[in-house]
């Protein structure tokens, strides 16, 4: 097993780890204020147990925060990386 830290792998960690931390905090803050059961009762969504709702909430937050982290990474790379000048026709 290689222990090499490739840039790709570093980027993966840089996206997933901060979003994991933040979604953990967000889950606590949100579910202290809102009880998921009465909220879900008014929707057509599935009605899991509270633990299920908390867990889904956590992964949902993780998805959103990871998307944000990924966008940050994406915008960090200079535009010229993706917009290479087109080769002139021969």
């Amino acid at each position: 097993m290689s222990r090499e830290h490739s840039p790709k792998r570093q980027r993966l960690v840089a996206v997933s780890w901060p979003s994991f931390l933040v979604s953990g905090v967000a889950t606590v803050l949100v579910f202290v204020v809102f009880d998921p059961l009465p909220l879900l009762a008014k929707t057509d969504l599935a009605k899991p147990s509270r633990i299920g709702a908390y867990s889904i909430g956590f992964f949902w937050f993780w998805l959103i925060t990871a998307a944000s982290s990924w966008l940050t990474c994406y915008f960090q790379s200079p535009p010229s990386d993706l917009n290479r000048p087109r080769a002139t026709r021969e």
Partner: protein
């Protein structure tokens, strides 16, 4: 320019060398062992403690209640969790300003579990030299067997850790039963494996990389240092020029400092840094190098403390004062907050009363020309015992409270809703909107009492 950028890139993406920390003995190693034993004892033992007929510490997420010994916390008590986090942050400031990364070196779960995993590794694979030899040796039956044993014990401990973690949220004895009969719920199974996997990965594989790359605190901790902070430092003036020598030689006559360049301080370091290069952000303040160096100094019959806890000012030969205003102010605020939260929890009344006005009508006229307002009262009994409560209303002259029942019984930890009507002769109303109060009192314990404000609406400018 380009080459320096390349150098940085290379440093960032450098291949990680596995660190084999050498075992240390000494004062700080004993302190850490004490810390590890106490913290692990609390973590693994606490869920098994029962109080009355329930688990003493139980975070009952499905019911949205936290039991901590005799206290039951509700989502309404979020202020305590918030205060606890503020206290934790302040404590971190205090201890960091005082003596650097005390948290990292002795109490952080990452350190504590890594220490346990290192202990297992040492028991299975032998000391540092044997571990390195095994790592270099080609794969054969013996290596497979030794490595397999190590990972088996690691995974077993990790799963037990995950089981204990879930045991804080599901009563651990019942959980044990469902684990044995393979009937744990989907989320219990998930979190047990997830937490176990995180323990195994963090303490077995990632180790110091968690501190160096993943920990947010490690990134900014040195910003809380000043010249009076006790940090682990190498005494350059005393140690240099370093060099090996015979014990019988007087270092001064040979033109040498006290450092014999044995590199033991580097070998014991869990993050593989050389403390002699000065303060580095990788240093987690574990003091292993102090213990290692003190042992060497004893053997050489030099005085201890070539590597020691000291302040930047002291190293520069300036007067130093560890108990400075910064530390005293942090300490005072910390004690003040702890006292306030302690007092507030001790004097907390375990009743909740929510008053909700009937939204359908502002007011209505009852018989005899009286004005009536209707409310829904939500009564939460946050105590561990059942109670019967009496409700009264005040705030206006001749205000009459009409209830369906004389008193209301609420079992321990339950919520009851009931409707209440307030009536008053409009002659007594001075304004259209008036403040009134609902008072709730437990019949068996007059100390259990709350008062909640509400609005009473009447006809504007009545008579």
């Amino acid at each position: 320019m380009t080459s320096s950028v390349e150098n940085i890139e290379q440093a960032l993406y450098a291949k990680r060398e596995k660190v084999f920390p050498r075992q240390v003995h000494g004062l700080f190693a004993r302190l850490r062992l004490l810390g590890v034993t106490v913290l692990m004892g609390i973590y693994y033992g606490l869920p098994w403690v029962n109080l009355g007929d329930r688990q003493a510490v139980w975070f009952d997420l499905p019911a949205r209640k936290f039991y901590i010994f005799g206290l039951t916390f509700w989502p309404q008590d979020f202020i305590y969790l918030a205060s606890l986090l503020i206290i934790a942050a302040l404590a971190l400031f205090f201890f960091t300003a005082l003596a650097g990364r005390l948290w990292c070196g002795y109490a952080c779960p990452q350190t504590v579990w890594t220490e346990v995993f290192l202990w297992i590794e040492r028991k299975v694979e032998g000391n540092r030299a044997r571990q390195m030899k095994l790592d270099k040796s080609p794969w054969n039956t013996r290596k497979l067997l030794i490595r397999g044993t190590k990972h088996f014990i690691w995974i077993a401990l990790s799963l037990w850790t995950g089981y204990t973690f879930v045991g804080y949220f599901t009563p651990i004895r019942e959980l044990g039963h469902s684990v044995l009969t393979l009937s744990t719920g989907p989320w219990e199974t998930f979190w047990l494996i997830f937490y176990g996997f995180a323990t195994y990965g963090n303490a077995g594989w990632l180790r110091e990389q968690v501190c160096i790359y993943m920990c947010p605190y490690a990134r900014f901790q040195s910003a809380m240092f000043d010249k009076e902070t006790l940090i682990i430092s190498y005494d350059v003036d005393r140690g240099e020029p370093r060099g090996s020598r015979k014990r019988s030689i007087d270092p001064k006559s040979a033109g040498l400092g006290d450092c014999i360049d044995c590199t033991l301080c580097v070998q014991v370091c869990p993050t593989a840094i050389d403390i002699r290069n000065g303060l580095q952000y990788e240093c987690i303040g574990c003091s292993a190098c102090i213990d290692a160096c003190d042992e060497v100094m004893d053997k050489m019959e030099y005085s201890r403390g070539l590597v020691r806890y000291t302040t930047e000012n002291a190293l520069e030969g300036k007067p130093t004062k560890v108990l400075r205003p910064r530390v005293l102010i942090y300490g005072t605020i910390l004690i003040g907050l702890l006292g306030a939260v302690g007092y507030s929890i001790a004097s907390r009344v375990p009743i909740g009363l929510d008053v909700i006005r009937d939204r359908n009508s502002l007011y209505r006229e009852a018989a005899d020309g009286l004005v009536e307002n209707v409310y829904t009262l939500k009564l939460i009994n946050m105590d561990d015992h059942d109670h019967r409560y009496r409700v009264s209303a005040s705030g206006l002259k001749d205000l009459a409270l009409k209830l369906d029942h004389e008193s209301i019984e609420v079992p321990a930890g339950q919520v009851r809703e009931f409707s209440a009507r307030l009536q008053i002769d409009p002659v007594d109303l001075k304004k259209a909107s008036n403040e009134v109060f609902f008072e709730l009192e437990a019949i068996d314990n007059v100390a259990l009492k709350v008062r909640e404000p509400a609005r009473f609406l009447g006809p504007i400018g009545s008579r």
